[in-house]
Symmetry: C2
Subunit: 494 residues, 2 copies
């Protein structure tokens, strides 16, 4: 079988994936800034890296998946100083920033659950790691790559660039960055325009601030990820993921910080998903096309012709390779809705199909099915080409439907039939994380509850109240796992 390859944004090459400490894999993905409602732009990266997480586990790796929450609300547009969006909005709404953060974090978690993304192993927050960030900044200063100016601390990019390639990941040239940078607030504090903030002095009215060796302030956006990734995954780890728009300045700065502080390149494989557009345009307030996931799932945005279910959106996202751009359109989503249903129907049909193989002179069917199953693996291994995997699943769906409707004889061996059953399920549900929404209930946890409730009803009807043994047996038989069964916790474990 083929080996997993990944396009490494850092080397710009497709490389064989070899973890640093197999069977363990460490993966860090930049999470959302929870200063507003979860929107379309969040769907793609978290679905993409959810599939990476799922596939690595499928391959047998023990994955520690860290996805942060930027709750200090540092938001940095290219070339612009950090600005505390959360604090601004909180003042406006007269809310405690953390109350706002909690509200948006809850919505984000709800949306991620609807999209059937698995929970990360650790979900650290920026405000929860102020000490770690201060420690890393102190270390960078001690090593001579950061300096204090007027209560703020900056990273010395020019000094770093003397011996390191600042711009290697994003493909930018340092001179261009300097020439292109605008004059902004506190720009005069910096030794050079390309320097970026590690710690920002807070004005007294700034709501979110902490004490530090440099006075009251708040951390820069980039240091958050360097500090948390190092804490939970070590000084060098396997995969760092995020949207392509984060390459500069965010990931470029992460590399610089960690490189100096830890004395080595922090990441073996950098993975970036490409951007989305909405009806052909970049998503943005000026285009009126900032669609929240709430609006998408309920069809309550003027640009939407209908509501699109979470699984339709998941299917739609995975139908395009993660490194290609993706345009959200009504036509595309409607096609995805039909495609999802076709795939789910084939999966349901296959589950209830019994082996009914016939001997045939024509052995080509056997070879075709075996080849398609092998293709599924080869296609996932080819830089997680979910688009190709889905095309192959559609080809297999055609076969399944033909068998089911009696249009074609099942000219495969029993072994191949069961191989197909297993793989069709694994690729649609376990790896791509698609599920049938027409089923009354979507979460495994409620599956357990429903089973328990139905068994209790049965027992009541039989006037048999000692149901605990029956229920225990049924649970053990069902093999139902908690939604986040990755941690080994099962409901049926005593």
């Amino acid at each position: 079988m083929s080996q997993l390859t990944i396009t490494n944004s850092f080397t710009r090459a497709k490389e064989i994936f070899e973890p640093l400490h197999a069977p363990h894999v460490g993966m860090y993905v930049c999470g959302p800034t929870v200063s507003g409602e979860t929107h379309l732009g969040h769907a793609r990266p978290y679905i993409t890296f959810d599939v990476v997480f799922r596939y690595l586990k499928y391959l047998g790796y023990k994955v520690r998946y860290v996805r942060n929450i930027t709750d200090a609300g540092h938001f940095e547009e290219e070339g612009r100083e950090a600005e505390d969006k959360v604090a601004n909005k909180a003042k406006l709404e007269m809310l405690e920033p953390m109350e706002l953060v909690t509200k948006y974090t809850n919505i984000y978690h709800d949306m991620m659950a609807l999209l059937n993304t698995e929970r990360p192993s650790i979900e650290p927050t920026a405000t929860g790691h102020i000490v770690e960030q201060i420690e890393m900044i102190k270390d960078l200063m001690a090593k001579g790559f950061a300096y204090e100016a007027n209560g703020s601390v900056y990273f010395d990019v020019l000094k770093y660039a003397e011996t390191n390639d600042y711009g290697k990941l994003s493909g930018r040239i340092l001179d261009d960055m300097i020439a292109g940078s605008r004059e902004l607030e506190n720009q005069e504090e910096k030794r050079n325009a390309a320097d970026f903030a590690l710690w920002k002095k807070a004005a007294p009215e700034h709501i979110m601030q902490w004490n530090s060796p440099w006075g009251m302030g708040f951390p820069g956006w980039h240091i958050e990820c360097s500090a948390m990734a190092t804490k939970y995954l070590g000084t060098t780890f396997d995969i760092h993921g995020g949207g392509m728009d984060l390459q500069f300045p965010h990931h470029e700065s992460e590399i610089a910080q960690s490189n100096i502080s830890n004395g080595k390149q922090p990441v073996k494989y950098w993975m970036h998903n490409n951007m989305i557009t909405v009806m052909g345009k970049k998503m943005g307030k000026s285009y009126g096309n900032t669609i929240t996931l709430n609006q998408l799932f309920t069809g309550t945005h003027p640009m939407l012709e209908q509501a699109y279910s979470p699984m339709t959106v998941r299917f739609f996202v995975l139908q395009t390779h993660y490194r290609s751009t993706l345009d959200f359109t009504n036509t595309g989503l409607q096609a995805a809705e039909k495609g999802l249903q076709r795939l789910m129907n084939a999966g349901t049909a296959l589950k209830s199909l019994e082996y009914a193989g016939v001997k045939s002179k024509d052995s080509s069917e056997e070879e075709v099915v075996k080849k398609l199953i092998a293709d599924l693996h080869d296609q996932m291994n080819d830089d997680l080409n979910t688009a190709m995997v889905m095309a192959t699943l559609f080809e297999l769906s055609g076969k399944i439907n033909a068998w089911k409707n009696g249009q074609q004889p099942m000219s495969v061996t029993e072994e191949t039939f069961h191989l197909l059953k297993k793989n069709f399920y694994n690729f649609t549900e376990v790896i791509l994380g698609l599920k049938d929404e027409s089923a009354a209930d979507n979460s495994n946890m409620d599956e357990v509850m429903q089973l328990v409730i139905s068994l209790r009803k049965q027992a009541r009807e039989k006037k048999d109240f000692a149901t605990s043994d029956i229920i225990r047996d049924e649970l053990l038989k069902s093999g139902i796992q908690l939604k986040d069964g990755k941690d080994g916790t099962t409901w049926n474990k005593q």
Copy 2:
């Protein structure tokens, strides 16, 4: 109408509830130590204070409900030094402590959702507020009420007791505390046996530790709550809740810390729920009766005769006043299961019942129903007597069933009939938070999804793909709110 009264553990008196800054109410409740699976002992406090939260909102207050997560795992048995349980277990399981914390926090959140407790406004973590804790410790030292010894910092209880009543909340006598304290590790560092740790020096092998002005270490358990409550609710706030077992040393120490640091009593009303026993015994490992909520809901613990649904457990807990002890037994839970069903059936019957009042010479029915509705409010206002409220709801259920079955004429005015409809719903579902589990789906969010899916199907059948307007209309009509609609977010809000 009566006014809300609350038994204040601090004054040992039932007092009229008057918030410091009406209509705002600040409430802090001690959350779980996430070093293990959520168990029976967690059900009672979080259901109790969920009802407090719900009732205060029902009364029109704007409540900021802060419930922390103790993820640094400080666990202090009475008179014993802080011990980092999480770190111990993590080493054993060879896990990163935060991975373990995430796992148990997720389980806790899932269990709280099953018990239909609303999410708190802010859910701060101990590890997320190291800076705030260090700042408060520095302040206590500057004020002369804390001292460093060998890299640890202790609160000077004797000095505090010179001018303050240490023991007022818990009713303990300081001299007894000193005489009764055992000789434990590092006891010799303390000036007095009654002193408690604010910061503990960490051994190098200790997994969870942070840098501080006193070297590497970790915060004491009590300082966490003082620092976070002050940060999010201010120096004096309305309600502090928790289990009665937390009165000493935890809450007594919180009072001492905040009192010195903020210069005033931190809390206006202290509320404590009484303890639970399991089949007549204190819950504990030696009794083999530590039942997790997972086990309770699935009936997979040897002591359980059957599985008990989350709503059965919620009903069972609320059937006893929060200040009385509560014994978990199979008999009690089975009775609660039947009681819950009876109440839910009456609620369903009432919802579909049309007004069919008859003129009757006997006006006593009208008076009886009106009196019972008034009782609901009086009973909740009487220190949240949910036990009495449920008894009244049962009386009303009898009337509803008699009307429904035609055994009795509906001898009430239309006004009273609608008043009953509104109040029966409000008290069972909005305030007590009970819901009908036999309904296919339990969460409002999935309710929206189901509606959307069913509407999409209808539209497909009619070959009408422009469903967004229909769906929007249906959503607006349905008035469905997000589960945590407290923040004003609604799915049907454009």
